[in-house]
């Protein structure tokens, strides 16, 4: 399988302590990699260093190599190009202070797309994929910040898809969404992986089991395990703690 993202000797620190220490793994093209692990394991930090959102926080240091399609993502000082290829959904949903439709067309507009009809089609497509279209189709001009938490979360998913990224980074995308809608979005993700690579951080172990092709287990900045779901969830793990975490006997 073709490697989409290669992570080599990755260290990330916020200040004095390493939040992520010596990570080495690859993400293959068109797979869903689920990342599980308790709080403070460095999962979100890992995602943020893949799309270089770490650039924006003063005092965050990144060491090591991350390659996208074989190219070092730190090759250029500017990282805007990288985020044009990578979509990201953060755990706290944020509707930008503009209308719903402007939110979903924001990314393509910033990338230079101007044609109104194409933008509308793209917006509808993304909103449908995020299972939000039916709820907002009659008030696309309404303010996105007035949507409910769950709706805003789905809006962020739609926005993350709107610039047709090659990689999608999901950080707890379903914490504010009800189970039924979550299932709908998971189905869409399974569909989407034909065109893109998805890395999904989740606290719901069942979600990792349902969604992932492979699952990685992180703990306190280290990678304990990364293997196919078949092996991880049948107890064939390298590290005892992965098994304990999945079985819920951790701690």
């Amino acid at each position: 399988m073709k490697k989409k993202i290669e992570i080599q000797n990755l260290h990330v620190s916020h200040g004095s302590k390493w939040a992520v220490e010596n990570l080495n793994f690859d993400v293959y093209e068109n797979e869903i990699l689920a990342i599980i692990g308790p709080a403070n394991a460095g999962k979100s930090t890992l995602l943020k260093s893949i799309n270089r959102m770490t650039d924006f926080s003063d005092g965050t240091r990144v060491k090591g190599t991350i390659k996208l399609d074989g190219e070092d993502i730190h090759a250029f000082a500017d990282s805007t190009w990288l985020r044009q290829k990578i979509g990201m959904v953060s755990p706290l949903p944020v509707g930008l202070p503009m209308s719903i439709i402007d939110n979903v067309t924001y990314a393509p507009r910033m990338a230079g797309m101007k044609d109104k009809i194409t933008l509308m089609e793209r917006a509808e497509d993304c909103l449908r994929k995020a299972a939000l279209w039916d709820e907002v189709k009659d008030r696309l001009d309404g303010l996105a910040t007035k949507l409910s938490g769950g709706q805003q979360q789905r809006l962020t998913i739609a926005r993350a898809l709107s610039h047709r990224p090659e990689v999608l980074l999901l950080d707890e995308f379903s914490i504010a969404i009800d189970p039924v809608t979550t299932m709908k979005i998971e189905d869409v993700l399974l569909e989407l992986k034909k065109d893109m690579t998805i890395v999904c951080v989740t606290n719901v172990i069942h979600q990792a089991r349902r969604l992932g092709d492979r699952t990685a287990m992180m703990l306190e900045g280290h990678l304990l395990d990364i293997d196919s779901n078949q092996r991880i969830f049948s107890g064939q793990v390298n590290d005892r703690r992965t098994h304990d975490y999945i079985e819920g006997v951790f701690g």
Binding site: T80, L96, P97, Y106, H163
Partner: protein, 289 residues
């Protein structure tokens, strides 16, 4: 049945007492402002006329009007705004959006805060040295406006910084994360949502500049000029300076003339301030989060 105990009653009494003290203090603050305006209206109102506003002072400034001073104030304030607003806003954008939080920027911030505390007469001396003499602007509207601008910069920078910081960081992050550049994020997310605060700060700076006397003392303002300024290298009169002159330096000016001059100055400032309050109301009603 539930009966309120003594403790709860005492608590409510304290609450009421505190509230009445606060409202009394508010009235005390409001009172002088109201009195000033009333007093000016009573003492200066009778002298106020179209002729007073639109004619030049005559008879050694003991009669006539204040037109040159009004025009001079407009020149000074206008030029000051043109110089200080772009500079201040751009500096604030740099400090808020681009500058890393390190020793250098912390020192710059400290300097800005200190600059706001410098007395205006010191600014006047600085303006005399830097603009009038060193940059060879001469005593002119330009030099006076530059001095006013330097004085106003910290006000504008501080208020702009506050408005920029009031836009939550999560909006910026959401924008960056979908591939928008920093500049695009500032242009489409940060500025549209901080414009109200920025404008309010500017208007506040304008009204401060309009009333300033000391800072323009040595740099471009004349006691009395029989003609109107034609360009920025002319000297001019100003309302605040004129008021100072006729109340302290010239003998035989009718009281009502001084009060009417003050009334005109205060009305101009009030109009601008009312505009700023109206603007804030308008923008607040359109707040997007």
């Amino acid at each position: 049945m539930y009966a309120p105990n003594q403790q709860l009653i005492n608590k409510n009494i304290r609450e009421e007492r505190f509230k009445s003290i606060l409202s009394f203090l508010t009235v005390i603050i409001f009172f002088p402002a109201l009195m000033i305006i009333l007093w000016l209206l009573i003492k200066g109102g009778p002298a106020l006329s179209w002729e007073f506003i639109f004619s030049s002072p005559t008879k050694g400034m003991t009669a006539g009007g204040i037109f040159p001073a009004i025009v001079g104030t407009l020149w000074l304030v206008g030029l000051c705004v043109i110089i200080s607003c772009p500079l201040g806003v751009l500096a604030a954008i740099y400090l808020s959006e681009y500058a890393k939080d390190n020793h250098t920027t912390r020192i710059i911030r400290l300097c800005i805060l200190n600059l706001a505390g410098v007395p205006s007469i010191v600014h006047a001396l600085f303006g005399l040295g830097a603009f009038v003499l060193f940059l060879r602007m001469g005593t002119s509207i330009l030099a006076a406006s530059c001095t006013l601008a330097v004085m106003n910069l910290p006000v504008i920078i501080t208020s702009t910084l506050e408005s920029l910081q009031a836009v939550p960081r999560s909006f910026r992050e959401a924008s960056w994360s979908v591939g928008a550049s920093k500049l695009q994020t500032i242009r489409h997310i940060v500025l549209p949502n901080s414009i109200p605060g920025i404008l309010t700060g500017m208007v506040f700076a304008v009204s401060r500049a309009a009333g300033e006397t000391a800072a323009i003392l040595f740099t471009g303002v004349a006691f009395y000029l029989p003609f109107l300024p034609m360009n920025v290298f002319d000297q001019c009169m100003s309302l605040s300076m004129h008021l100072f002159t006729i109340s302290t330096q010239v003998v035989g000016v009718p009281d009502s003339y001084s009060y009417a001059t003050a009334l005109v100055l205060i009305s101009m400032v009030l109009v601008v301030n009312t505009l700023s309050v109206a603007m804030r109301w308008y923008f607040r009603s359109r707040r997007k989060w």
